[in-house]
């Protein structure tokens, strides 16, 4: 089984629209939406949810007011600025923990002299297994402001691989998050190939080079695709040269096309519409052939 992860560094370059198009072209891949912060693939693939599971990860500290002696030990021990003291000078000190800052380390609970702090399991979101017109999809939603997105990404990928394994599906197709931090690292570990979608802008170039360095750091083969390439053809050339120099393969170019937005409004993939960019996306998909994604597909069918 192969695993193709679509990432970008910079957000908004067209990852999800391209992943959805690949899902249509692949016929029989298992999809994994690894952008658990802001998952959007379901808006194009219109899944019917088959299973829904809560995602618990990490812990959250809370002070039992009735037992607190207001000694301030928790405040002194917390490294994350999660403990605050309200009402100093105005009567008794009251200590509280801000869930948005608490990282669940447990130091406050351990060093509370009267054991007035509880640690509870933290519900950080949910994950789902769904059926779509292109095959099975595993997707998730992190709770607003929750942490541990990397763990949720790993869970989504593990489930997608499990399902692909059970069904003999040749490909897992993952829609990755932007950036280079923990959820991106979790999306890349153990993948076969990263397709990096960028755009011909100073930001696109800068962010591509950082995410390419990340792929290299994890010894993961990468291919680069420039979306909206005709907005700045010179910059496109420059980006492709830089990407080649950094050891990436060139996956092709996709022209600027309002069909991307039109397809989104219709809840469809770009390749399901009769649009110039759809041709470009098909070409990129075929280019991945050389990178053994499609040959693996052909072998299995």
């Amino acid at each position: 089984m192969r695993e193709l992860v679509v990432i970008s560094g910079k957000g908004g370059t067209g990852k999800t629209s391209i992943t959805a198009s690949f899902a249509v072209l692949a016929r029989g891949a298992v999809m994994a939406d690894c952008d658990v912060d802001a998952a959007d693939l379901h808006l194009l693939l219109q899944p019917r949810v088959r299973e829904c599971h809560a995602f618990f990860s990490g812990r959250l500290a809370a002070i039992r007011k009735a037992d607190c002696i207001a000694c301030g030990a928790c405040l002194a021990h917390c490294r994350f600025g999660a403990v605050s003291m309200n009402g100093p000078g105005a009567g008794e000190a009251v200590f509280t923990i801000d869930p948005a800052a608490c990282e669940g380390c447990g130091v406050c609970a351990r060093f509370c002299p009267v054991k007035a702090i509880d640690l509870s399991e933290r519900r950080c979101g949910e994950w789902r297994v769904s059926e779509t017109r292109c095959g099975t999809m595993v997707h998730a939603q992190l709770a607003a402001g929750a942490g541990n997105s990397g763990k949720l990404v790993s869970l989504v990928r593990d489930q997608a691989r499990r399902i692909a394994g059970e069904r003999g599906a040749p490909l897992v197709l993952a829609d990755g998050p932007p950036g280079i931090g923990c959820p991106v690292i979790a999306s890349l570990a153990g993948a076969s190939l990263a397709l990096i979608v960028t755009e011909p802008s100073v930001s696109g170039e800068h962010d591509l080079l950082r995410v390419l360095a990340l792929a290299r750091h994890f010894a993961l083969p990468a291919a680069v695709c420039v979306n909206k390439w005709d907005v700045n053809p010179e910059m496109t050339e420059r980006i492709e040269r830089a990407a080649s120099a950094a050891g990436a393969r060139i996956g092709g170019r996709i022209r600027y096309d309002r069909a991307f937005t039109a397809a989104q409004l219709d809840a469809r993939a770009v390749v399901e519409a009769d649009a110039p960019a759809a041709e470009d996306i098909r070409r990129v998909w075929h280019a991945l052939d050389a990178m053994e994604i499609r040959s693996e597909l052909a072998r299995r069918h």
Binding site: S8, G9, K10, G11, G12, T16, V36, D37, A38, D40, L43, G58, R59, H77, R79, A100, A101, E103, C105, G106, V107, R110, F111, L142, A144, G145, A146, G147, S149, G150, P177, P178, G179, I180, G181, C182, P183, V184, I185, E199, P200, S201, V202, S203, G204, H206, D207, R210, L214, H217, F218, K228, V231, N232, M235, R258, T261, Q264, L265, A267
Partner: protein
């Protein structure tokens, strides 16, 4: 509000124009304003506001080291660690620095005082001046997973006696929380598309969880439909202004131009938008 307004620019969805808005706001506010580039995974503000770096500092997080002459292999540190950054294997435990959050718990619970902390580099904070705008940029080292310590370091360099525009990362999880927590108001930049609306809802939920007032800026107006406008009306969220979907704007930004430099006709929207954000923040604090 305590001192000058510190206002964050966030989005949920990536690529909606956060940096475009943040750099233009900083430009119209001009001399003395701080621009905190908290998108430390992909910091971009200095690609637009170019300036000379005046100060550069390493960001490091504490990670444990074990004195094997003192450690008796009791495993208490590994049992305590919530992040599996210590593994008891008989004898002195193994340390996995990339999993460590730096809580310091292991050092505190060790019964033999066999642990101390050392500093592990995770990124850099640089201060630059660009035509009077103080740009404080964080950059996470490639291969490092945890962005929040670098974001906290950027914010620690900000002065409270001057206004600040905080360029936040996309998403709604811990790096975004680290960037917007403590801000007086948040401007959420979106686009009028199904992805834009879906992710805006998540971002609004996030700002409500944090109890920070927010308002919306619609970028690439005209490219999609009017559901973002309708949503904001129903939710009672102020739409500060719109920016049109024009290829000439996309081309100028692609070259690294600041929007209000290339198209000065938009300056007044940003000036008014900032005033409205400050008013929203003041009202919220009152």
């Amino acid at each position: 509000m305590n001192g000058h307004p510190h206002i964050a620019i966030a989005s949920g969805k990536g690529g909606t124009g956060k940096t475009t808005v943040a750099t233009s706001l900083a430009r119209v506010l001009g001399h003395g304003v701080q621009l905190l580039d908290c998108d430390v995974e992909e910091p971009n503000a200095r690609l637009f506001l170019r300036g000379d770096v005046q100060e550069s500092r390493m960001v490091a997080v504490p990670v444990p080291v074990i004195d094997e002459t003192r450690c008796d292999g009791c495993g208490e540190c590994a049992r305590f660690c919530a992040y599996n950054a210590l593994a008891a294997v008989g004898g002195a435990p193994l340390v996995f620095p990339e999993l460590c959050h730096g809580c310091g718990g292991c050092v505190k619970v060790c019964p033999r005082q066999a642990m101390r902390e050392t500093q592990r580099r995770v990124g850099m904070v640089e201060t630059a001046e660009a035509d009077g705008v103080i740009v404080i940029q964080g950059a996470l080292d490639v291969g490092v997973a945890m962005a929040p310590p670098v974001i906290h370091a950027v914010k620690a360099h900000a002065r409270r006696d001057a206004p600040a525009v905080i360029d936040a990362p996309p998403g709604t999880s811990c790096p975004v929380i680290a960037a917007v927590r403590g801000a007086d108001a948040v401007a959420l930049v979106t686009e009028p598309t199904p992805f834009g609306l879906h992710d805006l809802r998540l971002a609004v939920e996030m700002t409500r969880t944090l109890a920070i007032p927010s308002a919306v800026i619609i970028n690439r107006a005209g490219s999609g439909d009017d559901r973002v406008q309708a949503y904001c009306r129903v939710e009672g969220i102020t739409v500060l202004f719109e920016l049109p979907d024009e290829r000439r704007i996309a081309e100028a930004l692609a070259r690294g131009a600041v929007l209000v430099d290339a198209f000065p006709e938009y300056r007044s929207r940003f000036e008014r938008g900032w005033k409205q954000l400050v008013a929203i923040a003041t009202e919220h604090h009152a």
